[in-house]
Subunit: 254 residues, 2 copies
DNA sequence: CGCTGCCTTGATCTTCTTCAAAACGTGTGG
DNA sequence: CCACACGTTTTGAAGAAGATCAAGGCAGCG
């Protein structure tokens, strides 16, 4: 992929520690789909129950199988959810930006994490203990119903991934994943910087491979193809989508 | 797979129409994880809100994309949840027996089915309108929390499937699926009938293929291998697991 | 300036799909 | 009760997609 002579265009990387202000906490929590129905007082009270944790890039937030410490909400930075296999392979289930959440959604005590979480960039993560969250759910039925919708949406997304893995070749899965990332953590670039939508995450080939169920080599080959078509630009640990509609046509040949 | 000269050992097939009695309705509804916390009066009231529908084998309960008619609970028979792809391929997400449920779990109106449902055997399915179920959820917070747990469990299972599809070869995925089915709809057989655990569903090779993301031919080849090892027995539209631990070793080489 | 990782690319090999044909079972109608 | 016809299953052979192994190139960093 050697035609580009540019350096990392990502706007991250410099910070080695992220911390979030009280103002940010309230903004992030208030923006959660399941806290939207809370009034200001209730939100402030919920905020009390959360504590915040700072992570350096690459730091582990929680490990698969460990007892659930609560519900975690990303306030600053990016976090990836990973599952490991016996054979040493990894499966990357999701990349979360600010407002993304994971962990004990149901508030039931005694659960265990079914996936590991790792900070990709410097990150600040808010957390609330299972019991406390369960209390909020019990006190505010509308909140519980909202969580239901969120979980339903996640389940839908998971089933869609299953469909992709079962029925589509790597090329199409990779196109889908790039579109999904461009949509969730993408950032439009000015024409002076090449235009397109930059995926604002340090994204190694191995990460893309783990998201699509393939190998870094195959991912690299296909990205090279895409780049040759002018559909994307990419380099060491970054990718930008230049022609989303072309990728869409490839991903879902309606 | 021609060494066996036996006929279908399945205990189904004869009935062309299934209907469930009032007694069965209450038993099935009362057994649902999210109705367990309801007292008898509340349960009877919830029961009022449900109506029942009978389906012949192969009948379609709902189609992907159609507006959600409510929450559906299988009372009698077996139902499969299927997703279709543009290329005409099918993905079989789940096989539900009595007590299994699908559709609008969150009770939010305006949803659409994300998967189709089809009766595999003659079946009776109970259904409740979204608004009515939402009312129950709102009135009984404990019920909503229980639904949360159920959805969380489903999400876990979906992620596990994603892991399997991404990281394991067909052989291991097939072993996993057989074990899962044996566990969910299996029935121990007396030694006189060959022993093992019979999967009590008319299970075509294509169904197994759609569950593991492969083709009927490949599924057949691998089943033949398994049979040659003495791990399973199988025939036209049926399979019995003879050596679960061997399959487990294959599925998860710890 | 050289080191360390990440990325790319090539060659080979395995796995799985595809196409094709034969064998089998199951239910049907004689 | 038997024979036939249909859909399912099995099996084979060829081909494609992707994994694996291996080597070289490029970016960022001390």
């Amino acid at each position: 992929m050697g035609t580009q002579r540019r350096h990392t265009p990502l706007a991250v990387e410099t910070v080695h520690r992220a911390h979030c202000t009280v103002h940010e906490r309230l903004r992030v929590l208030g923006g959660l789909p399941f806290f939207r129905s809370l009034d200001e007082a209730a939100l402030a009270q919920a905020n009390q129950a959360f504590h915040s944790e700072d992570y350096a890039p690459g730091a582990v937030v929680c490990d698969e199988g460990e007892p659930v410490r609560g519900l975690h909400v990303v306030a600053v930075g990016k976090v990836k959810l990973v599952r490991h296999t016996a054979g040493g392979q990894d499966v990357l289930l999701e990349i979360l930006g600010p407002g993304g959440f994971f962990g004990g959604l149901s508030g039931t005590p005694g659960e265990r994490y079914t996936e590991g979480a790792e900070a990709i960039t410097a990150a600040c993560v808010l957390a609330v203990a299972p019991a406390a969250f369960r209390e909020v759910l019990r006190a505010h039925p509308a909140t519980a119903l909202a969580v239901l919708d969120v979980l339903g949406e996640r389940l839908r997304a998971a089933n869609e991934t299953i469909r992709q893995l079962s029925a589509h070749p790597v090329e199409q899965r990779l196109a889908s994943v790039l579109l999904k990332l461009a949509h969730s953590v993408g950032e439009a670039q000015p024409a002076a910087r090449g235009g397109g939508v930059l995926i604002q995450v340090p994204l190694a080939r191995k990460d893309l491979a783990d998201m699509t169920g393939t190998t870094p080599e195959t991912a690299s080959r296909i990205l090279s193809q895409f780049q040759a078509q002018g559909w994307i630009r990419g380099g060491r640990r970054w990718v930008a989508v230049q022609d989303a509609s072309a990728l869409e046509r490839l991903a879902e040949p309606a």
